[in-house]
């Protein structure tokens, strides 16, 4: 059985986008396959690892669990939207400086979860950082360097409000 396609409009990192896809196609796959944004990664595909984290209408979500129809007219932010031109986001700078990224698979999700955390809580405690990133798994760093990166980014002024 074949379901009909749906014409979906959404805003991704401030840009209008339109896709013609099956309504049950995952937001993750639309980002990667239809829009060419391969920052969000598929780790577990079941909402456990957070490597596909993006923000949808300002809320952190696992894009592997969002059918694209539910993202119709939504505002999506992905890791590709963090840096402004060549200027890295403070979190990206901090991850580089503190060794918060090793193999890099979890990094886009970590950055989005950390962005979400700092948007709500510009100076989180270590406990709050641990909770904010608890849905994001890393098999390289042992997490400590990631927590250090978030602390460093918060000290740098954390989370500049993007105009877009």
């Amino acid at each position: 059985m074949s379901a009909s396609q749906a014409q979906i409009q959404l805003t991704v990192n401030g840009q209008q986008a339109s896709v013609d896809v099956p309504p049950m196609k995952r937001l993750l796959d639309v980002l990667r396959e239809d829009l060419g944004l391969t920052g969000a990664k598929e780790g577990c595909g079941e909402g456990e690892c957070g490597s596909c984290s993006v923000r949808m209408n300002g809320e952190l979500v696992n894009s592997c669990l969002v059918p694209i129809l539910q993202a119709a007219n939504a505002r999506i932010e992905t890791v590709e939207g963090l840096a402004i031109d060549a200027e890295l986001h403070p979190l990206q700078k901090a991850f580089l400086e503190c060794g918060g990224a090793q193999c890099g698979i979890c990094t886009p999700g970590m950055l989005m979860a950390a962005t979400h955390l700092l948007a709500h809580n510009p100076h989180p405690s270590i406990e709050e950082i641990r909770e904010g990133l608890a849905g994001n798994l890393c098999r390289c760093t042992g997490f400590i360097k990631i927590f250090d990166s978030v602390i460093a980014a918060a000290a740098m002024g954390g989370n500049p409000t993007h105009a877009r």
Binding site: G45, E46, L65
Partner: protein, 296 residues
Amino acid sequence: MRGNPEAHQLIAPGTLSAVIAQLARAPGEWTPIAGGTELMVAHAAGRLTAPKLISLWSLPELSFLRVTENEISIGGGVTFGQIRSHSAIAADFPLLSRAASWIGSIANQNRATIAGNIVNGSPAADAPPALLVYDAEIELISQRGLRRLPYADFHLGYKRSVLMPDELALALHLPRRFAKHAQYLRKVGTRKAMAITKIALAATAIVENETITEIRLAAASVADRPIRLTATEAALIGKKLSSNTMREARKVLLNEVRPIDDIRSTAEYRKHVAANLLDEFLSELAIDSTHEGLSA
């Protein structure tokens, strides 16, 4: 990703009345999907059998939180992220706030809804024990009308409930009369975030002159559905809080719970830990009552 998105229809009628009209036209044909934290997992694994899905996500009629003098009503589409950040829920129903805060991760809490947690019917679900010890009522809606019943009567067995194929869970209603109760909730799992419960116990109680005058106990993962431990409650009500009472209650609980062995734990472990959690709650209660402070 083993599921095929082209094998499923998904529609989003956009209003509650349009959704229940669609359900009424062909009861059982359409599977409601809200935040997808259950069904999209099945989809990715190729286990989603429902060919036709109907979206409830962001329906305004299911997204309300209403505080009146006597109760707090939570729309079925309210997410656990919204529940944990709601100050009136935190003040009156702290166990529900706490349960919301340890469901999955932040990203899951932003999508998982309270009605989804209930109608999915898992015996291990996080919200049900708290709802049970607060005497919550559940309101169901279909084109035939509304009905409201004690949440304790909702589940009938493993993944079975009174919900008819044309019905949706419209709201949970929590009576605001637990401010003076001692309250307890503990979840035992492998880690704080993401872990599905091995065993959880919730309780509300009132102790007067060292005697238990009111007690409600509910547990997850000890039966085929979330349950009130009514036999254990009966062994405690009207009793002095003594070590003898606690020993007796422990015995009753060990007979009352019927956990299973599964990938997360064993029946034996679950029984013992359930009894230990009861001991912990009753010990806290005994300490609090001798200090005459009843907030746990």
